[in-house]
Each structure stands twice: as C-alpha cells, then as structure tokens.
C-alpha cells in the first residue's frame, strides 16, 4: 500500500488517488493515531472532495490515503455494489488511482462501505473503511463538544445507559436498531456508523482493520484487528441482534441481513439479502450443488 510513494506525480501531473501526498500523509498520521488508541476520535484536516459532504467524503479520504496500486477495491452502499453512490465512488478510484475494483468481498483488499458490513467474514488482509455521518455517539445526549470530550477523557459513560434504561422501561427493549453504540477495547465509547445492529458482532475481534472516516465532522476513529467491541447493554438485558423470520427469497440464505422490497405496485413484498455480493455467492453455490 506504499506503492504510491514512488509514483512519479510530476510526469503525469495528477496525484495518485486524487489527494496530494502531504494530505495523504496527514490523514495516515491520523489513522495511525486512531489505530493506536482504539475507538478514540482523532481530528483531521478534512479536504474538499469532488462529492458533497454527507456523501462519504470521510470514507473517501481514508480510502484515498491508504490505497496503493496493488489494492483491489470494493465499494458498497447499504450492502449493494450497484447503487449510484457505490458505483460512482468505485469509478472515481478506478479513474484517479487506476486500481482494480471488484464486487466480490473475498477478492477485495479495501472495502469502502456505507451502512453495512459484508456477511462474508473479513480477513487479516483486508481493511474496511466506513463512511460516517456522525462519529460522536454522545451527541444525542450531550450537545456541547467540550463536555462530550471530557466524558470520553474520564470514561464516564453512565449517560448512555440512560437511553437503554428509558427504552427498556417504556418498551421492554432497546429501540436503537442502527448506529448502536459500542465500547471499544474496554475503554472508548464509539459509533459503529449507521450499520444495523445486526452487524455489531462482526466488529468484535474482527480480523480486518476497521477505519471510520467522518468528513463533515473531521474525525477518524479505528478498530484494530482482534479488538474487543462490546455493544452497550445491561447484564439482565443482553444485547441482541435483529432476527428474521424468513430467509432470502433469492438465494435462500438464513443468516444474512434482509431488506424488504416491494415487487409490484400491488404491495407484494419479499425479503432479499442486503449484501448483494453475498447473495450472488449463495445463489451460485446453490446452483453448483
């Protein structure tokens, strides 16, 4: 991934992977710090990207900074490789970095994602980059940035449990189904980005490095490989993930996160895998068998 360092910028006149080398260095430094202090939000000097903030500029900058010429890039949005956002980010990097892109999770060395973690378990050769709209899980309760920073510094996260308490006493369960806050490495409270809580357990002791980039908020946080990631819960109300009554109507998978889709204008509905690459893989397996 350091191949870009010897890339001859001047000869071509453009920087490899869009960002100039100084910017990439600055972002890499932030990433290294984030890896060294798991779950801690490291500020970085977010740059203008050819994409409006809120469309993944944080993830884009992280990817641009770690991308090398040998990397194979996969980009997903809500689990799918074929949505507008995913396609345009993939095309962007194919153009500015000339990297190979793929839709197959197993082939990718870097996966940039919005709102999902692939179903297929990631490996130690892979890095997953998240697009993060709001990296501060305390924001909902503590609007003042300075106060939130102190709460992180002192590790006093009792206020987060108020939300759990209130939900359980009113509804009998915790109502947060996405962006469900986690404690990383037994220390920092962090947002896993708006992934469904179904994906939270995949972060726990994951083999792949996870990097979270928030462009608008100018923060990067990370979860190094094999790090403990625990979703907030009570001893007597343990964290649980979504459970689906049905299986994927396309590939038959019973272990994947399903999206409900409308099939026609008469309200006929079906459940399909949100991870399109996984769905295709399962379908192929079924056909082979």
């Amino acid at each position: 991934m350091e191949a870009d360092l010897i890339f001859d910028d001047d000869a071509i006149g453009y920087s490899f992977a869009y960002l100039d080398e100084m910017t990439k260095r600055m972002i890499r430094r932030a990433i290294l710090k984030a890896v060294a202090v798991p779950g801690y939000q490291v500020p970085f000097g977010s740059r203008e990207m050819p994409l409006p903030p809120g469309w993944g500029t944080g993830g884009l900058q992280v990817t641009a900074s770690i991308l090398g010429r040998d990397d194979v890039l996969k980009v997903i949005d809500q689990g799918a490789d074929d949505t507008t956002n995913a396609i345009s980010i993939r095309q962007f990097f194919a153009k500015v970095a000339d990297v190979v892109t793929t839709e197959r999770t197993g082939e990718a060395t870097i996966i940039q994602t919005r709102h999902r973690i692939p179903e297929r378990a990631l490996t130690e050769d892979q890095i997953i980059v998240f697009q993060v709209p709001n990296p501060e899980p305390l924001r909902r309760f503590i609007p003042e940035e300075a106060v939130a920073r102190k709460i992180h510094a002192f590790g006093r996260y009792g206020v987060m449990y108020v939300r759990l308490y209130e939900d359980i006493s009113r509804l009998g369960y915790v109502a947060m189904s996405a962006d469900y806050p986690v404690i990383v490495n037994g220390r920092y409270l962090a947002s896993p980005s708006p992934i469904p809580k179904f994906d939270n357990p995949k972060l726990h002791r994951s083999r792949a490095l996870a990097i979270f980039g928030a462009g608008r908020e100018r923060r990067i946080h990370a979860i190094p490989p094999f790090t403990d990631v625990n979703s907030l819960d009570f001893v007597d109300h343990p964290f649980t993930v979504q459970h689906f009554e049905t299986c994927c109507s396309v590939c038959g998978a019973q272990d994947s996160y399903l999206d409900e889709i409308l099939l026609d204008d008469r309200g006929t509905r079906a459940f399909v895998c949100s991870d399109t690459a996984y769905c295709a893989e399962q379908r192929d397996k079924r056909i082979d068998a």
């Binding site: 006493s169 009570f234 001893v235």
Partner: protein
C-alpha cells in the same frame, strides 16, 4: 447529644473571590458522619459558593477541602481533574434549591434515580429498577409514577425526587442548598420530616444552607452563621439560636417571630 461518627469533611481557610467580591473568606470547619451542619446568613454571604467549592464545582482561590472516603482522605482541589471527577459523584451529592437544576426533566423519575447509579457502574436493569422503586417509596412518591417525567410532578414531588436521586448512590457527604426554599409551608414541613428521618437512618454527613431559622433548628446539630464571606459565629444550634453573641446573629434571631 447523639453519638458522632468519624470526621468526613474538613475545610481549612477557604477563600474564593469573584472579581473584587470576596464570596468566602477564611472559612474553616469540620463535619462528622451523622452530623448536620446548618449554614445561615444573608443573601450574598457566600453560602452557595462555599457549597460549590465543597462539591468540586468551583475551585477555591486558596484553602483546602479534605474529604474522607472509606479508607483514605482526599484533598479535593489538589487532585487532578480526572480523579476528582471520579471521586466526587460517588462521594458527594449536591441538592439544589430548584429541583430543575438537579434533575433531568426529559427522562423519567426512575431514570433520574438510576442515572447516577449507572454512572457509578450499575449495569443490572432489574436492580436499578428495584433501587429506584425503593427510593421513590422512601421519599413518599407513588411507585406507579416511576415512568413519569418529573415535568408533570408538583414542586414538592420534584424536590423529593431530587433528594432520592442524590441519596440513592449512598454519598457520605450531602450538600443541600435551600432544599425547602420555594415550597409552601405544609410541603416544607413534610419535606423536613423526610430529610430528618433520612439523615438519621443513613448516618450521612450533611451541610444544609438555609435562610430559614426554623429549618436550621429542626435539622441542624450545629450552626454556622456567615456574613460577607466570613463565618462570624459557630456552635451547637440551640446555643447559637438561644444565646447569639454576634450582633448580626442577634438580629437574625430576633427577626424571627416567635409563636
């Protein structure tokens, strides 16, 4: 006189000035477990400032605040901020005159009691819930109101809820700033009874600031009179009230109508 426990709080020559206004001047006193110290004094004499210095909220310009915990003594303003933030919530509780300053109005009554417990590490919903119910009962609030927002409570109920929230963590030191101010007389009387029985039951050390000589007489074992930031008179409550020495105290006592 009731038996006294060991020393919980010792304040030595505490100073705090706001600009040119001296709010506390050389305030010294100590307090034992199970003891209630009343602080009376005119408006602006530095009572609230003193409490906030003891609660870790504002840093005094000079002087020391020593607080004994189970097996060690901390120098509140000599420790670093992180340790202080760790120490204070589990040891000291500040009850405000206006319950709205001490409660979170947007969360339920039960959540208000549970929050400091969760901040202290409580991670068992069932026992948090049970503690909340137990404390609602102690402060005479119907357990069925546990999921109601304090917003819909009367002023007296809000104050009792604030007291439940403040005491449920078993602090060793409780600081009350005019806990019965702003309530009507009959509600005040009930609240005073409640406070008195809780103090007796829990054996906590209490500093209670009040304008009201009647409140002081009912609650406080000892009394400290403040004027312009100084402690001008101190002693057993009955002694101070029945035989005041300082002219200001004499004025204060004589201004109360005897019935």
């Amino acid at each position: 006189m009731k038996p006294r426990g060991r020393e919980v709080l010792r304040v030595k020559r505490l100073f705090k000035t706001f600009g040119s206004v001296p709010a506390c001047r050389a305030v010294s006193f100590s307090l034992r477990q199970g003891e209630v110290l009343g602080i009376v004094g005119e408006s602006g004499s530095g009572k609230s400032t003193l409490l906030r210095c003891l609660a870790g909220r504002i840093q005094p310009d000079d002087g020391t605040v020593l607080i004994a915990s189970d097996d060690y003594v901390v120098d509140l303003w000599a420790m670093d901020e992180a340790s202080r933030e760790q120490f204070v919530p589990t040891t000291v509780s500040l009850i405000h005159q206006n319950p709205r300053d001490g409660l979170r109005l947007e969360i339920s009554a039960g959540g208000n009691i549970a929050e400091p417990l969760m901040a202290a590490g409580g991670r068992h919903y069932g026992s948090l819930r049970a503690t909340a119910l137990e404390w609602l009962e102690k402060v005479d609030i119907d357990g069925r109101r546990i999921d109601d927002l304090p917003e819909v409570f009367s002023g007296g109920m809000q104050q009792r809820l604030q007291i439940a929230r403040g005491l449920a963590t078993h602090p060793r030191l409780v600081l009350m700033d005019e806990p019965t101010g702003g309530l009507d007389v009959s509600v005040q009387a009930k609240l005073l009874d409640l406070l008195r029985s809780l103090v007796l039951e829990l054996g906590i050390a209490v500093v209670v600031v009040t304008h009201d000589i009647g409140v002081a007489r009912l609650l406080a074992d000892r009394l400290m009179v403040m004027q312009r930031g100084r402690v001008i008179e101190e002693g057993l409550t009955d002694q101070v009230l029945d035989d005041p020495h300082h002219p200001y105290t004499q004025l204060l006592v004589s201004s109360v109508l005897h019935v």
